[in-house]
Symmetry: C2
DNA sequence: TACGCTGATGTCAGTTGCTGTCATCAGCGT
DNA sequence: ACGCTGATGACAGCAACTGACATCAGCGTA
């Protein structure tokens, strides 16, 4: 993060990261699949928590509500706002990092959909609920780290879902 | 596409693609930013069509309906189902290609949101409507190329949106 | 026709991300 | 003391890209 924020992602070589960490470049690539993965090390923890939260929801809870609760819970696992903002800035400055982040979200959505299906939610419904959940998480995150944001992350997510509901409500 | 489908994406070198095309490797990289971009050459056409479709919607149309119409229109620009299926299989077999596809969809969503804002749609609403539209496009596409699919692409998209509406409807 | 401009291509060298392979070495149980 | 195992270092190598320069075809113009 230090090197990426200071010199930019592309200008930072793997050798420099390894040197800063006091190891060899080869060792660096044993710990991280590639240069980008460094910024997404904790994403599997988030996914595990969200998936287990879905599984722990009481029976009878509607899919979208189970997903919302899981996302709010996952929101509490993120680092503080200042760090999140800096990390987001690094990612926003580089397309290949955006690609990786999108893949992580996509993988998360697939895992959420799978967790819903295990609860008996039909195939298409599970996929759509999962995608909707990830979308409100993403948009809620953007709102949260925006300069004029005041509320907490979970509130931002709820607001986004309310907006989505209003949007899709038939006329 | 031929080489990717035959030997796989990673097993195909840029030199081989260039040779097949009768040009130098350097020339190949002058036409495509990287190895992956070959499979996404037409994505900007799709984006342009969708964005202009949003702009052409009659005033007073609700955002979600304008987006739906634009997505149905964009659906008609894709190649036939057999080719789309083969291309999807190549992408599904390689994570880095999935990343690129996700980035294209994300860029499309941003462009759609921007087009909505030009129509006076509020910021957050525009983002959510755009994301919802891309989601139903993606899920509709998956349904369309599924083995047991019968209807056309536009119908798959409408079905996905109907499901999403049912999902987000309050109890 | 000769000239000069422009855009596309070829050539070549170089950097960097990433990988396979083998040696080394610390820790740890027997 | 011995052997096993997991982590690391050392090294060579491949392939994706990039920058710089030369070449060449086409094309308008004097």
């Amino acid at each position: 993060m230090e090197l990426y924020a200071e010199h930019g992602f592309e200008q930072t070589t793997a050798a420099e990261i390894a040197e800063r960490a006091g190891v060899t470049e080869r060792t660096f690539f044993r710990h991280f699949a590639d240069k980008r993965e460094v910024l997404f090390a904790g994403s599997s923890d988030l996914q595990d928590a969200v998936v287990s939260a879905i599984g722990a929801a009481p029976a009878g809870v509607k899919p979208i509500d189970a997903v919302l609760a899981a996302m709010e819970m996952g929101a509490s696992l993120l680092p503080n706002r200042e760090y999140s903002r800096q990390r987001a800035a690094v990612i926003a400055a580089n397309p290949s990092l955006q690609e990786r982040e999108l893949l992580k979200f996509s993988t998360l959505a697939d895992a959420v959909a799978e967790a819903l299906r295990r609860r008996g939610v039909p195939n298409l419904t599970a996929s759509l609920a999962a995608e909707a959940g990830v979308t409100v998480f993403k948009i809620g995150f953007e709102t949260w780290i925006a300069d004029d944001s005041t509320g907490d992350f979970a509130q931002c997510i709820r607001d986004a879902l309310d907006q989505l509901k209003a949007l899709t409500a038939g006329a």
